[in-house]
């Protein structure tokens, strides 16, 4: 091993170490930012070492120029986009960058195919997996981006949609295996190119029928797939750093997929293949009419509670009401009311999205409670304010075996003596499931747009 090679190996090792240390620092919000900075240093180290010690030495001037052009083009566009995008659009960004990673992983393996030669059996098997999967992750992530952006896509399923999707996946694997094993360079190039295109279509076909409400699961799923594809690429390219980083991400994506699916009471298979079932007649006809109240009364309820728990849902984010919510929390705290936020795992459009939106509005992270902490706090709270959340506070999930939500972990808001629900209209949640919370005895509804109602409550509080 030459000195250059040894230095390069050392830099890769250090980079992998820093990436893992950075991930470990994510275990607490206090250290998390230092963690991502450490990981950034590691990545920069790996990139510079490979550029200076390896690539520049062997490339022509033309390749050096191309490399810098690619780095500046991809990096520049993406930096400009990521710095501007609002926090509500973070799920789209995560899906987009994930898809690009998948595309890169797929193209890398394709590059290897074009170079000719046959890799060792294990690398071969992994390559047959990595390229179509990376490509499918690219296609699927782009569809997820479009759905999260609310671009209209032709929804619905083709006849025999599942069979068709499965067929596309199988064809993509088969074509790529052919590309890796064939002798003739033309055949390798054609089969490999087609395999990637078919893989892309498979990702699109798999994702198009999935509803917007299931996107948290889908994003986590493709995140894991891209990670695996990158890890498998690492085997093919003899890069242990890529193996470690990719596989760790694969494990993380798999775990988050399971967590999200469980929090939504669905299996991954149900999300991918079944769509949401028809709304079942759950609670039977409501025994009583929901009782409404006005913002002024709501303000009084909140102002005289000792502790208030706020439950924000996606409706709050749609109304962009997070800053008003934080104003409300500040005002209540000035009056001596303790204010906490109860965050369901699927509140928002991706895992943990609601926490980011509230942190942006200035809510300190120690006021953001996860499901378990929140249910404990709800038992002792004086009042609860539900803003634009529906399914995640549905008591049927605990009490009614006939409900499609039955078994889903929910925030038990009726533990508090008084519950206020800000609700846009009289309809049902995304899932179309009946919610008996609204007719419960200690619940009062305040109808209207979340931002508007919160503004009125704030006004009333200031005059108290």
């Amino acid at each position: 091993m030459s000195v250059g090679d040894a230095l390069l190996a050392g830099a890769d090792f250090l980079a992998a170490l820093l990436l893992l240390v950075g991930l470990k620092a994510m275990s607490h919000p206090r250290t998390a930012r230092r963690g991502i900075l450490a990981a950034g240093v590691g990545m920069l180290l790996a990139l510079l070492a490979n550029l200076l010690l390896d690539a520049l030495g062997r490339g022509s001037l033309r390749l050096v120029f191309l490399a810098f052009a690619a780095l500046l083009l991809g990096g520049g566009l993406s930096a400009a986009l990521s710095r501007r995008v609002p926090m509500t659009a973070m799920p789209q960004m995560v899906a987009l960058f994930n898809g690009l990673g998948g595309a890169a992983a797929a193209l890398l393996v394709f590059g290897r195919v074009l170079a000719g030669g046959s890799p060792a059996p294990l690398a071969l098997a992994l390559a047959v997996f990595a390229a179509p999967v990376g490509s499918a992750s690219f296609g699927g992530s782009l569809v997820a981006v479009a759905k999260l952006q609310d671009w209209r896509l032709p929804a619905g399923r083709l006849p025999a949609h599942r069979t068709l999707t499965a067929l596309l996946i199988a064809v993509s694997f088969a074509l790529f295996a052919l590309a890796l094993l064939a002798r003739a360079p033309e055949l390798r190039a054609a089969a490999g190119g087609f395999a990637l295109a078919v893989g892309f279509l498979a990702g699109v076909a798999l994702t198009v029928p999935i509803g917007g409400a299931d996107m948290p699961v889908v994003i986590a799923f493709y995140n894991g797939l891209t990670g695996l594809a990158v890890g498998f690429d690492g085997v093919l390219l003899h890069s242990p750093a890529m193996v470690v980083a990719g596989v760790v991400v694969g494990a993380s994506g798999t775990m988050l997929t399971q967590l999200m699916a469980r929090a939504m009471n669905r299996s991954l298979a149900a999300v991918l293949f079944r769509g949401f079932g028809p709304p079942a007649a759950a609670s039977g006809p409501a025994e009583r009419e929901p009782l409404a109240t006005d913002p002024a009364d709501a303000a009084i309820v909140l102002a005289y509670a000792r502790e208030v728990v706020i439950v924000p849902g996606y409706g709050m984010a749609v109304a962009q009401a997070q800053h008003k919510l934080q104003d409300l929390a500040r005002l209540l705290e000035k009056r001596g009311v303790r204010v906490l936020f109860a965050i369901h795992p699927v509140a928002g459009r991706m895992p943990g999205h609601m926490n980011v939106l509230l942190a942006e509005a200035g809510v300190p992270y120690d006021r953001l409670l996860d499901l378990e902490e929140a249910n404990a706090a709800l038992a002792v709270a004086g009042a609860v304010l539900v803003v634009g959340a529906n399914d995640v506070v549905n008591p049927d999930a605990r009490n009614n075996p006939a409900s499609p939500l039955y078994g889903m972990p929910v925030l038990e808001v009726t533990r508090a003596p008084r519950v206020l629900v800000i609700k846009r209209g009289r309809g049902r949640g995304f899932s179309g499931v009946e919610n008996p919370l609204f007719t419960a005895e200690n619940v009062r509804l305040v109808y209207g747009d979340a931002a508007d109602v919160l503004g009125r409550i704030l006004g009333a509080l200031r005059e108290l």
Binding site: I36, L73, L107, G231, S252
Partner: protein, 97 residues
């Protein structure tokens, strides 16, 4: 690196991944996903090597495409994660104005 060693390395990485991720609170799941996005951006290193070893126009074009996508992945992953994590504060700290 023999194939078997790689297989064992992968096994350990899976376990390490699970252990690391299980410790991340639900509070940080969005930045976590964005950070893991950044971490698989290490594919940029592979893309760089692929470009410099490519022969022929098609191979160079494919590797170049991989490098553009990978650099967008790695830079975007970093910037978005850092932006999000900067916002998380405990109650005693005052938000900057």
């Amino acid at each position: 690196m023999t194939d078997l060693v790689v297989l064992y390395l992968g096994l350990l990485a899976v376990l390490a991944g699970y252990e690391l991720i299980a410790r991340v609170p639900a509070l940080l799941h969005t930045p976590l996903m964005s950070a893991t996005n950044f971490i698989h951006g290490i594919v940029v290193v592979g893309a760089l090597a692929a470009l410099f070893t490519a022969h022929g126009t098609l191979a160079v074009a494919v590797a170049w495409g991989a490098l553009v996508a990978a650099s967008a992945n790695v830079v975007g992953g970093f910037v978005t994660t850092e932006r999000m994590l900067r916002m998380f504060r405990a109650s005693r700290e005052e938000p900057p104005r």
